[in-house]
Symmetry: C2
């Protein structure tokens, strides 16, 4: 994130370390309207090598309701330091989120630590207990183990947050002076829907933000640095306008780039106008690379929608990606409407037998070559009677590279009713990154083909 107000905030280094009384903190040292949040992740496994994706997940969702994540910390499963950290955080930040440590075992100590920090008792909730027992019966087909009864304990004054994907309910504890402590389970598949359905709507209610507009743009087949270079001067120019505050983020991952812009202003029309200007600029300068705006539909969903609208189908023939493209296309529910299936032609024999690549092409050009990518795309399209066929062949490494065909070289072909397009790529990174980039690039190649055919028929 690049905040164009940063420079002002740097002066006046204070050294306050003891907790300050609540009433001093209503505004905080920054913009009166800026609501700041602190995230505390609990779990010794996060200090033992497990990658923590919580701050990434929560930062974005908080930002969507105008709340800035100001600090994140990760602590082990020890009661005392956690309780101290919660105590300190709720005195410094109006929004404190604690993730993890809500499981049934004795090292799940978030409930106790939060109760300690607030100086409130933990109460056993009969309603929650019955809910957890019912979950075990219905979803897991067994009786609730006695240990799980702990998950029905709530802090006095807390609202339970429903968890549709696990047994641990979350807790929402509103404190005086418009502050809130939120406890959420650690597993992302439980945490994310709870954030969407309960936490962000309630945060919005508690902290109605200054009029705020935002837009999100999703790009493929363009480097992050190019997006950054083109957009930064525009943002700098817009930031000079009066009474607006504009911020943006650029996140890149394996060949995909997400750009978000956030504008707040006391006058909503002004914020809206700025977002509109950014959108127009993106369309003009980066249009062909942009596969989606706002709703963060993954590329495979965009493609699914295109195919469904056209009544078209696709089949895949993958070599170096080993099934990853098929896996991505079927990530979305309902993909059976447009994805027929595919062949993982990992061995040469399978390229011949499963897809109909000729021995001659393989001999003449080698398995990693443009003609083989084309033969895979055309062969699978024909065998499956699909509207489109995608063929991928490449060197994922780490071994198997040669000076002429180095690790990272991937050919991607898309065969349609009348044309075949084939492209070569040199992807950086390790085996997994190369394979994921190849999948993203093949999805984007398919998108471009579909986009082209949509435009030429409409």
């Amino acid at each position: 994130m690049t905040s164009l107000r940063g420079a002002k905030r740097r002066s006046n280094l204070r050294r306050l370390r003891s907790p300050r009384p609540l009433h001093e903190h209503k505004g905080g040292p920054r913009d009166d309207r800026e609501v700041r949040a602190s995230l505390i992740c609990v779990g010794s496994e996060l200090l033992r090598g497990k990658i923590n994706t919580h701050s990434s997940t929560l930062a974005r969702r908080l930002m969507s309701v105008g709340i800035h994540l100001s600090q994140e910390q990760t602590l082990g499963d020890d009661l005392q330091p956690l309780s101290e950290a919660i105590h300190e955080a709720i005195h410094r930040f109006p929004v404190v989120v604690v993730t993890g440590g809500l499981g049934p075992t004795f090292d799940d100590i978030t409930r106790e630590a939060a109760a300690e920090a607030l100086g409130r008792p933990l109460l056993a909730s009969g309603r929650l207990l019955r809910g957890i027992q019912a979950k075990f019966r219905r979803a897991l087909h067994r009786r609730m183990p006695p240990a799980n009864a702990r998950q029905a304990q709530v802090i006095q004054g807390a609202r339970a947050i429903r968890n549709d994907h696990g047994t641990a309910p979350g807790q929402w504890i509103e404190l005086k002076n418009n502050r809130v402590l939120i406890l959420l389970p650690g597993p992302p598949r439980e945490l994310k829907p709870m954030m969407e359905r309960f936490v962000t709507p309630n945060l919005k209610r508690l902290f109605p933000s200054r009029p705020r507009e935002e837009a999100h743009f999703h790009f493929a087949s363009i480097p992050e640095s190019v997006v950054d270079q083109r957009i930064r001067p525009l943002i700098a120019r817009l930031a000079r306008r009066k009474e607006v505050q504009i911020e943006f983020t650029i996140l890149a991952s394996l060949g995909l780039v997400d750009f978000s812009v956030f504008v707040s202003s006391s006058v909503r029309a002004r914020a809206r106008q700025l977002v509109h200007e950014v959108s127009r600029f993106v369309q003009r300068r980066l249009g062909p690379y942009c596969y989606g705006v706002n709703d963060a539909h993954p590329l495979e969903k965009v493609i699914g929608n295109y195919l469904r609208q056209a009544g078209a189908t696709v089949a895949t023939a993958e070599s170096c990606t080993g099934g990853m493209l098929g896996a991505r296309l079927t990530d979305q529910p309902g993909s059976s409407n447009f994805y027929l299936g595919g062949v993982v032609a990992y061995s040469n024999a399978m390229k011949v037998r499963g897809v109909g690549v000729t021995e001659e092409i393989l001999r003449k050009h080698g398995a990693v070559s443009k003609p083989v990518a084309v033969a895979l795309a055309e062969g699978i399209r024909e065998r499956f009677s699909a509207t489109y066929g995608v063929g991928i062949t490449g060197v994922a490494g780490p071994s198997g590279g040669t000076p002429r065909k180095p690790v990272g070289l991937v050919y991607i072909a898309v065969a349609g009713p009348s044309t075949v397009r084939v492209q070569s790529f040199r992807f950086p990174g390790a085996r997994d990154a190369i394979r994921q980039r190849a999948v993203n690039a093949s999805l984007d190649a398919l998108r471009k083909t579909l986009d082209y055919s949509r435009r030429s028929t409409s």
Copy 2:
């Protein structure tokens, strides 16, 4: 992490938040010999959605020299909170690592913040400056921009840490009472080699560790709670032995469970003995579920090794997993030695045409059924002339479930030279979790078949 010393530490919750004088902190509240580290990650981008991999990287490297990462925190590019956090951390932990914020721009404030926290001046180093200038000339073929001169500033008393992959040197500042503050640049490709070459050897010198032994066990097809129930009493018993300290972690993810045990003792033989007892216990009580010990080989690698040793091959026929099993089997380099390929038979037509499932079986039993799983496994085995064939069919949801065939129902079959085994599962969770659990279960089904055939032939 579950520490059996936890219970003792729970009492007497202290509320010390102001910095305590250095001499009080030499040992900390735990074992005198346990060296604890704190990690501070600097960078507003890490609070705006970027995934932070530093704690994962550093935790493992620190653990390799017997140092426990006890806390991690992420802060934005603001001088005051960072300086406060460093000040507090160096009073609480003997090892403090700060990553990021060593770049040349004005929002890179780690040098200043650390200098403030230590109350020491920043000095311009002529030697470092000449080094950075030379890097620009040699590697980037241009003159050093004036801004980069800041990267040659070192805290009084610091040793510079050479950076072979970027312009920002690190800093190693030894403090009194055997404490150290370490500043490292943020980019992983700069940070990792600096950790390897300079930081871990110097930490080893500064904190020669107490003898320490550990073991790691990897399970499939068994719930986390069962592993926990069986192992906990053993650990509790062992923890009562004199002069040992035993800790363990249990991590579960989508049908796989990892259990690690860490033992330290002033007598290495004693630590080794305890780890040995745990290993024997695991073998006796959980043997069939354990697919790996120590080296954390993923399940697909274990299977690859089995297949390679046996000179056997495998082919896959996937329906609801859409290629994910193929993708997993080809995650490992060299998988072309044993994985021939597969068919993603997402549509019924493809089950018939691509794998040879008969229309009759599909009509009679439905696509999600035991006979279809068997037909997929046997069909693909035959078509690809593979030693083993794996067939998966199921309802990944969220729609498509019926009372008789609910979402989460998955049939997995493994066909070998003489037998076919088929199992049904009811996986909990959302679409993605169901698909991933199905892949893990099918890998484990294959492992069991291979394991059985290894044992019956040896």
